[in-house]
């Protein structure tokens, strides 16, 4: 069984992001970039499926400029067998990403596509679902358990009310939640081996997709700074302030 995993290059989760002075975007100058944590969980799940003898090949795909090859190499160091970069310029919207991924799915015909539920930069949480719709594949989103069983995959989903388990016919799409697994560290020997693994580059045109824009980024600004609190002398004063100043009761 072939497994396709999507990985995205994002600002490292440890970085305190700052807006550019002109408010045009987040400042990415000299900022550490990493593989999106949810995508890393997706890679780990695929690699575990391979180690368990369920998957035969794990392919990592990323969409972006040349720099995203770094994240593909990380996926390869974590245990993916080969990589695909779909080369694009600038920001790409979820719908375009989903269309490009559909193109890769058609080329590679994986039985399972695993994606992060969302990326920590845009927090859109759309790509997996859009890919499911475009490719006509069933989807199990927010997965905390994934079990492949013959020609079906059981996905336990983290939903508001608790856990929901769905059974999907393969080929299917899974998006990962935080508790699906704890990704391993890529060891130094595996990082060195990853340099030699196959990495193919496609253009959107190769996949028959036109990169279009539907959204305009209007403004990026930091959240309002929190005002310092004060200590009140008595419960009465607190109630008074809540009523008359904060107007919340």
């Amino acid at each position: 069984m072939k497994v396709l995993v999507a990985v995205k290059r994002v600002v490292d989760y440890n970085v305190k992001v700052r807006a550019k002075a002109d408010g045009s975007d987040v400042d990415l100058n000299n900022v550490k970039m990493s593989i999106n944590p949810f995508c890393e969980i997706a890679v780990e799940e695929a690699v575990r499926l391979k180690e368990a003898g369920v998957a035969t090949e794990v392919i990592a795909v990323s969409i972006g400029d040349k720099a995203c090859q770094e994240q593909i190499r990380t996926a390869l160091a974590l245990g993916a067998d080969r990589g695909i970069q779909v080369e694009t310029e600038g920001a790409v919207e979820p719908l375009v990403v989903a269309k490009l991924l559909k193109g890769v799915v058609e080329k590679e015909e994986p039985q399972l596509v695993i994606l992060g539920k969302q990326s920590i930069d845009g927090d859109n949480n759309q790509t997996g679902q859009m890919l499911g719709a475009l490719a006509g594949m069933p989807q199990g989103t927010f997965a905390s358990v994934v079990k492949v069983d013959g020609d079906r995959v059981q996905v336990t989903r983290e939903v508001d009310g608790g856990l929901q388990t769905v059974s999907l016919t393969l080929p299917a799409i899974v998006t990962t939640d935080l508790r699906l697994n704890e990704p391993r560290y890529a060891s130094l020997p595996n990082i060195m081996k990853a340099k030699k693994k196959q990495l193919d580059v496609y253009t959107p045109a190769d996949l028959g997709v036109e990169v279009t824009k539907h959204l305009t980024l209007v403004k990026v600004e930091p959240p309002a700074e929190r005002q310092a609190g004060i200590k009140v002398e008595s419960v009465d004063e607190l109630v008074d302030k809540l009523k008359n100043e904060a107007k919340v009761i």
């Binding site: 190499r73 990380t74 160091a77 560290y185 060891s187 130094l188 020997p189 595996n190 990082i191 060195m192």
Partner: protein, 390 residues
């Protein structure tokens, strides 16, 4: 541009995405497996044996050693070593690194000068984190004057009989083997040999040096040799070749220390900047007072200079032109920078820095071991002056 640990690093065009990948993975490993516990280990003066196999699994222990013994050497250049030193410095518990990575000074004599049989026995378990090896040169009677060491190894049939003692031996309490400098011949450097001494040999004993200014987590020891019989096959390199073995070992140790010291200085900068932007005095942020701004600018200035010097030395080493004099002075540059940054960060932090359990406080206490160990500043300047043919 920010002044956090990563942003305060000058660009280095030698770094590739594989280098960055190693940094990322190593940082994840350290942030999960070491950093949250390191302060407790330091306070307890001990760290768990289980850390070594974990560090081996991520490739940390095997960095730069031949694949045949379980290491990773293909494609490994100086930049991997620099990154490793930086990342190990970032959580700022020097004793953990000193003990965890002590094979970095204990094993190279075996790898570079030992017999194949010796390498086969020693290197794989050390690189797997199952066994430990230390380096023993300094003696109670003298340290920096290596050529004058007095521990003797007298040939008796197919054995050497070793008598004497060694002190300030990092990792000495845990070591299964000690690469030991001994006197096999006459006076001076030409009478020195390196001998691999197993610590289960009869007549070997050790005591911990557990009350130290810093490096609390490190199992530093004094070692005693009382008629310890060591097979002649345990000779590392040829007889009387010990001084050369020791001297070649020092360059990489000093590069690693210099890289770590610069990074420790950068941690001080990061902590000082964070605090200076938060803390308010006299109606404005500390960072808005000119005296504080100048301190921070000066820290960055010295760190920049040290980083550039580090890069120059690593580039020379990569080109096969490493210069021991330049490396010796780099170590001085780095310890002076670390000392300055620790001092200034402590001034910026004030009382909060003086409390135990923060990075600046630990670094402040660990300045001296870095400025003295691996060659004191005084010895480094002297060595450089000789190297330059003064």
């Amino acid at each position: 541009m920010a002044l956090d640990f990563d942003s305060a690093r000058l660009p280095n065009p030698n770094l590739t995405e594989a280098h960055e990948a190693w940094r990322t993975q190593l940082r994840r490993f350290i942030d999960t497996e070491i950093a949250p516990f390191a302060d407790d280990w330091d306070e307890a003066g001990a760290m768990p044996d289980a850390l070594w196999p974990r560090a081996a699994a991520v490739g940390l222990l095997g960095l730069g050693y031949p694949e045949a013994y379980g290491g990773t050497s293909e494609g490994i250049d100086s930049w991997y070593h620099w990154i490793t030193a930086e990342e190990l410095a970032r959580f700022a518990v020097g004793g953990v690194n000193a003990s965890l990575m002590v094979h970095g000074i204990g094993l190279p004599p075996v790898i570079n000068w030992g017999s194949e049989a010796m390498k086969q026995v020693v290197a794989p378990p050390v690189l797997a984190g199952e066994k430990h090896i230390s380096l023993a040169i300094t003696e109670p009677g003298g340290g920096s004057d290596v050529a004058a060491l007095s521990t003797t190894a007298v040939r008796d049939g197919d054995h050497y009989v070793v008598n004497g003692s060694k002190t300030y031996i990092t990792g000495g309490m845990r070591a299964d083997w000690v690469s030991t400098a001994v006197r096999t011949g006459g006076e001076g450097a030409r009478g020195v040999s390196m001998l691999l001494i197993p610590t289960d040999a009869e007549g070997f004993s050790r005591t911990p040096l557990d009350r130290k200014m810093g490096w609390w987590a490190s199992d530093t020891a004094t070692l005693y040799f009382d008629n310890v019989r060591v097979p002649v096959e345990n000779l590392i390199g040829r007889e009387h070749q010990g001084f050369l073995v020791i001297m070649t070992n020092f360059n990489s140790e000093r590069m690693g220390m210099a890289a770590a010291m610069e990074a420790l200085g950068r941690v001080c900068l990061e902590e000082a900047v964070t605090w200076a932007q938060e803390r308010r005095t006299f109606g404005k942020r500390l960072a808005d007072h000119q005296v504080i701004r100048h301190k921070i600018a000066q820290m960055k200035q010295k760190l920049n200079a040290t980083q550039a010097y580090l890069r120059a030395c690593y580039e020379a080493i990569e080109a096969g032109q490493g210069n021991p004099g330049d490396i010796a002075l780099l170590k001085v540059q780095a310890s002076e920078t670390m000392e300055f940054c620790a001092r200034e960060a402590m001034q910026v932090l004030g009382g909060v820095g003086y409390l135990r359990g923060n990075r600046v406080e630990r670094i402040y206490r660990e300045v001296r071991v870095n400025a003295i160990g691996g060659g004191s500043e005084e010895i480094m300047r002297d060595l450089a002056a000789r190297q330059y043919g003064l």
